[in-house]
């Protein structure tokens, strides 16, 4: 591709389009959700006081692990949809022989991580402890299984639900073992998030996918969207006014600030960098990506959620807005909206990372 008067031979971008953007987003989301689940289980739950807080913590844990499973599942489907030969991917243990490729490393990380998040989701969903009046929207898998049970021809009370509860109790570790499993899972979840960046930054051909900044941006974004997804569920279940939610929300704000910092640093680097770096910068602020980047990612995905969160935190801390039912509803809605915007911004970030990418051009003899 030649651009008038530039003396350079520009190359077309590769073809990672909406499916891959979805995959990268859901990968980061999945890892972040699981991480949120573990943090909630390990750090928050022991300190939770009062039934509302406990509920919020448990909801968060359950949602986090569940979204971890769902996101990685849907993300994998998105990925397979992109491949030219998706069925071959199922033979990956044998077929993916190039361990020098991040794609292979990442596949193993994801597969292993999937086991951990599936188990965690399973353990948090099923078991005798969770029988009976399961409160919390994150129990919807139980309701589905229960619904299935009602339609199965059975002679006794031991249906699918009983089976799952029994198995869950059987295989669920306790104590330090449980903690160990969660920690290993947490490490893997970070691996998944970072992998979605390393996949890109391993390529020297695209300056936008910069090895210094992009992994941190993705890490912050992955954790941030993970928190947002899990806590959105919690808010939906009624835990919006809890301290758990407020704290997670603030943690998210911290991540947002760091993320913005890294994005700004990356922009500055691009603006003063190679021709392709500068071309990327122009693209981000140009007709290609102005809307999704400036408005989608920066404004609605980061700055506005941050401001919303600060406002709500202020209101919660310094007023008695949460005393009234209306106030509670308003706050809950506010938090839900904030989390939604973060999720939207997270998706658009991956979109922009792919669509604004520019390959290094060639100099011409």
């Amino acid at each position: 591709m030649a651009v008038p008067g530039t003396d350079l031979l520009w190359l077309p971008r590769g073809h990672w389009e909406i499916f891959i953007a979805t995959y990268l987003f859901l990968g980061g989301l999945s890892g972040g959700s699981y991480l949120t689940s573990v943090v909630s289980s390990v750090l928050f739950r022991p300190r939770a006081q009062g039934p509302e807080e406990i509920f919020a913590c448990e909801e968060t844990s359950r949602w986090g692990a569940l979204i971890g499973v769902l996101a990685i599942g849907i993300g994998s489907i998105a990925l397979l949809s992109h491949l030219g030969a998706p069925l071959r991917a199922f033979t990956f243990p044998v077929l993916f022989s190039n361990f020098g490729s991040w794609l292979v490393i990442g596949t193993w990380i994801i597969v292993t991580f999937s086991v951990f998040t599936t188990l965690e989701a399973f353990w948090l969903q099923f078991g005798t402890k969770h029988e009976g009046d399961a409160e919390g929207l994150s129990y919807f898998p139980r309701w589905i299984v229960g619904w299935i049970d009602d339609r199965l021809p059975r002679t006794d009370d031991r249906g699918l639900l009983w089976l799952l509860d029994t198995v869950a109790d059987l295989i669920r570790p306790t104590g330090y073992l449980r903690l160990g499993v969660r920690l290993v899972g947490a490490v893997l979840s970070v691996g998944v998030i970072v992998y979605t960046a390393m996949l890109l930054t391993d390529l020297a051909s695209v300056p936008f996918w910069n090895q210094t900044f992009m992994p941190f941006i993705f890490l912050m974004s992955g954790a941030s969207t993970g928190i947002s997804a899990a806590l959105f569920g919690t808010v939906l279940s009624g835990g919006g006014t809890t301290r758990t939610n407020h704290l997670f929300c603030l943690a998210d704000d911290g991540l947002i600030v760091v993320e913005v910092g890294f994005i700004v640093a990356l922009l500055s680097f691009l603006n003063s960098g190679s021709v392709a770096a500068q071309a990327t910068y122009s693209k981000l602020f140009g007709s290609c990506c102005y809307l999704p980047f400036v408005w989608g990612v920066m404004a609605f995905g980061l700055v506005i959620p941050f401001l919303m969160s600060m406002t709500m935190t202020g209101l919660v801390s310094f007023t008695d807005i949460e005393e009234s039912r209306l106030g509670q509803f308003a706050m809950s809605t506010g938090f839900a909206t904030k989390y939604t915007l973060v999720l939207l911004g997270g998706f658009l970030l991956r979109y922009v990372v792919l669509f604004a990418a520019v390959k290094n051009p060639l100099f011409v003899p």
Binding site: A2, V3, P4, G5
Partner: protein
């Protein structure tokens, strides 16, 4: 450039062939008759029948730009053509003996054309207003009957024959000699480069010979209104031009557009369009002043030098620089270089100086330079290539004398009384729609031709609500390979086979061998696809249905070709054994010189004419009246707009034609692969558009808010068309160019992608002297913001 191999040696594995050597050089030239008898040597037969499960090779001669480059066709086990390659040493397809043969993107696309599902697969006839499929017998009978009825009602003189790039000379025999139609519109003059061709011939050079340079010996080349590295007339030309450059020859491109040739030139002179006449006169000025002109040639073999010299004296390089936008020093440099290298210096020119009323005089000024430096048919200068004469197949194979039933009939196209001809009596294609309106023409037959892209497109095709000439005619018969809008308006459509499907023959002529004549030919490489026939078989079948069967005794085109070759004692089989070509005789230079020291030039006179007073004084007097300014018979500079279109505030840009290597020579058949490559060459392949492009300078684009890839409309006083813009620095601001043939309305383009820029051409906008359609139009360009 140390250590680099010359262009011709690159590449390995040249195919071996035995090169026929000819005996003495008696008989080839434009002016001498007869030819030598070649000796044949046995060599391995290359072509064989397919279908036996093995890969085989067949031959062909490419007809995409109609220059016959030798083609090797790889057939798979089922006889399907899979690959095409050039033939080493071929007179059109290589740079000469021992050099590599190639095919260009057009030739390579013959593969696509042969198997394109878009081909017309079946004869069609119009019944109750609709075209329907018919079988051959029915179609022949129907056409014969319609032609008979037409003759009975209107007379064959109300019919017009358009012979384009058909490969059957019998087409003209059938419609001219036998049917008796006297109206024949040839391809070159009215549509292609008439303003230069007619002038070149009148002056004595020969209209076509302004194209041909003796490349192997040249030291200085003026590429003037032509782009041989884009529109080479066969692979040989591009290769030999590059070889000349590698040898150290100076190449100068004179063109408002930075063409492919400009990229490889030592100078690019981005001349203001239609000011070439000034540059040519200024060059003469310098050459004469420095005494670089050929006094001997001028003294002995020319007429009108005094008037020329006086005209040149007036046009100093400074004056020319003013008018052309070029630099006076550069003009001096180029003129001096050209003059010093002469006679081993040549000019190659074509449609760039041939398609405007204002170009007729400019052509005279340019052709005058050849006489000035005495390079006509001298080593390194303009070359008069010689051909061997082929036999008249009718004299050889047909026992009946072919009559001339057109004799004595009113020829509306060229008879002076009819009033439609040009001032030199040439057919004016742009007048045909008017002739239809006046009832003088009521029917036409065309063969591999599409007049609607040549000029007056609106008048041919009609616009909303108004019928065009094609609609108004009583009878339209077409021999064509693809469905163009013209074909869709016909009453009878005969689907023709493409080049791979039919035997080919040609003799020449211009090509790699600058002192040897040659003949080339090949059998059909594959069977006619679908239910198509070669043009030869179509004409024969139609002729038989019309009752002229006895004049077409040959069973096949191969038989017919063998009769033609009998003059050289060759057959088509022989040619195939020799990798499709045989050299048939040698010839020398200065063929205008006769044995007794006198001369005969292209117009039949004994002198080259700088001044056209001997033939055109009355014509120019008449032209002067028309133009309201004195137009003299000697070389003279006419500013743009004297006879042609003028730029105005409303239409401030000049639209001119360019060509692209994917579609040059107006084949008008835009195939998918070259369309894709064309889009890629402009970096616009990601757009959903596969048409032609309007090339416009960045500055002009910025003024109009036009970016690379925007859809734009070109509008002139007479009409408009829409296409995609390509913005570049490589064109003079003020000029815009369009690759014209094969796009937009009238063409075979799906959804008419692209622009037929002749929608802007009013029928009256022609060069009155030659009848050539004037394609230099004043336009404005606007962004349409439409979808591609």
């Amino acid at each position: 450039m140390s250590g680099r191999e010359s262009n011709a040696d690159r590449g390995s594995n040249l195919t071996r062939r035995s090169l026929l050597k000819t005996t003495a050089a008696a008989g080839v030239a434009a002016s001498t008759a007869g030819c030598s008898m070649p000796t044949l040597t046995q060599s391995s037969s290359a072509s064989s029948s397919a279908g036996n499960g093995e890969t085989t090779t067949a031959y062909g001669n490419c007809w995409q730009c109609h220059k016959l480059c030798g083609m090797e066709v790889t057939l798979n086990g089922d006889g399907k053509a899979e690959e095409l390659h050039g033939i080493d040493g071929h007179p059109r397809g290589s740079a000469g003996e021992g050099t590599k043969g190639t095919l260009c993107p057009k030739g390579l696309s013959q593969l696509e054309k042969a198997y394109s599902p878009k081909r017309i697969k079946q004869p069609h006839i119009r019944e109750d207003g609709e075209l329907r499929k018919a079988d051959w017998d029915e179609a022949f009978e129907y056409a014969a009957k319609r032609l008979q009825d037409f003759d009975d009602e209107y007379g064959a003189e109300s019919f017009v024959e358009f012979h384009g790039w058909g490969t059957a000379g019998t087409f003209s025999t059938l419609f001219g000699n036998l049917y008796g139609c006297p109206n024949h519109v040839p391809h070159p003059t009215p549509t292609c480069f008439g303003s230069m061709a007619v002038t070149g011939t009148l002056m004595g050079l020969g209209g076509g010979n302004i194209r041909w340079i003796d490349y192997p010996n040249t030291e200085y080349v003026l590429v003037w209104g032509r782009d041989p590295l884009e529109t080479f007339a066969g692979q040989w030309e591009a290769k030999q031009l590059l070889d000349a450059r590698d040898r150290g020859a100076t190449i100068v491109t004179i063109d408002p557009v930075y063409t492919e040739t400009a990229k490889k030139s030592d100078y690019w002179l981005p001349i203001e369009p239609r000011t070439d006449g000034a540059l040519a006169l200024a060059m003469a000025n310098v050459i004469i002043e420095k005494g670089l002109h050929d006094e001997e040639f001028i003294g002995q073999y020319t007429h009108g030098f005094e008037a020329y010299r006086d005209a040149a004296a007036e046009m100093t390089p400074e004056k020319a620089a003013d008018v052309t936008g070029l630099d006076a020093e550069t003009i001096r440099e180029v003129a001096t270089g050209f003059g010093e290298a002469a006679p081993s210096a040549g000019i190659t020119s074509w449609t760039g100086l041939g398609q405007s009323a204002d170009h007729q005089k400019a052509s005279q000024n340019v052709v005058a330079l050849t006489g000035l430096v005495g390079n006509i048919d001298r080593p390194g200068g303009q070359r008069w290539y010689g051909s061997s004469k082929l036999a008249n197949p009718f004299e050889v194979g047909c026992e009946y004398d072919v009559p001339n039933n057109a004799e004595g009939k009113q020829c509306h196209l060229t008879d002076k009384q009819a009033g439609y001809a040009s001032m030199t009596g040439k057919p004016v294609q742009n007048n045909v729609p008017k002739m239809v309106d006046n009832g003088d023409i009521r029917g036409m037959v065309y063969y591999y031709r599409n007049p609607v892209t040549d000029g007056a497109a609106k008048e041919w095709l009609g616009t909303d609500g108004q019928d065009g000439a094609l609609d108004k005619m009583d009878l339209v018969i077409g021999i064509d390979a693809f469905w163009s809008e013209t074909a869709r308006k016909a009453d009878v459509v005969f689907p023709e086979s493409s080049q791979l499907e039919k035997p080919m023959l040609g003799a020449g002529g211009f090509g790699a061998y600058n002192t040897q004549a040659w003949v080339t030919g090949s059998k059909a490489a594959i069977d006619p696809q679908w239910n198509t026939k070669s043009g030869f078989d179509i004409v024969k079948g139609l002729g038989e249905a019309m009752g002229y069967g006895k004049y077409f005794p040959w069973e096949s085109k191969e038989e017919y070709i063998d009769d033609k070759l009998s003059a050289l004692d060759l057959t088509l089989e022989d040619l195939e054994e020799e990798d499709t070509y045989v050299l048939t005789g040698e010839y020398g230079y200065e063929k205008w010189k006769k044995g007794d020291g006198s001369a005969k030039f292209a117009q039949g006179a004994g002198e080259f004419w700088f001044d056209l007073d001997k033939k055109l004084d009355k014509l120019y007097a008449g032209l002067s009246e028309k133009a309201g300014t004195e137009i003299r018979t000697e070389p003279q500079y006419l500013p743009p707009g004297t006879l042609g279109d003028s730029l105005t505030d409303e239409y401030p840009l000049e639209m001119l034609d360019t060509r692209t290597v994917e579609f040059s020579h107006g084949g008008d058949q835009a195939l998918a692969a070259p369309l894709e490559q064309l889009a890629e060459s402009y970096d616009l392949e990601h757009e959903d558009y596969r048409g032609n492009y309007l090339v416009i300078n960045t500055r002009d684009g910025d003024e109009r808010g036009i970016d690379h890839g925007d859809m734009v409309e070109i509008e002139g006083k007479h009409g408009s068309a829409e296409l995609m813009a390509a913005v570049t620095e490589g064109i003079r601001p003020g000029a815009v160019s369009v690759e014209p043939y094969g796009f937009g309305r009238g063409s075979i383009q799906p959804d008419e992608d692209g622009a037929n820029n002749m929608l802007l051409n009013p029928p009256g906008r022609i060069d009155p002297v030659s009848g050539q359609i004037d394609r230099h139009l004043a336009v404005e360009v606007r962004k349409t913001g439409g979808d591609a």
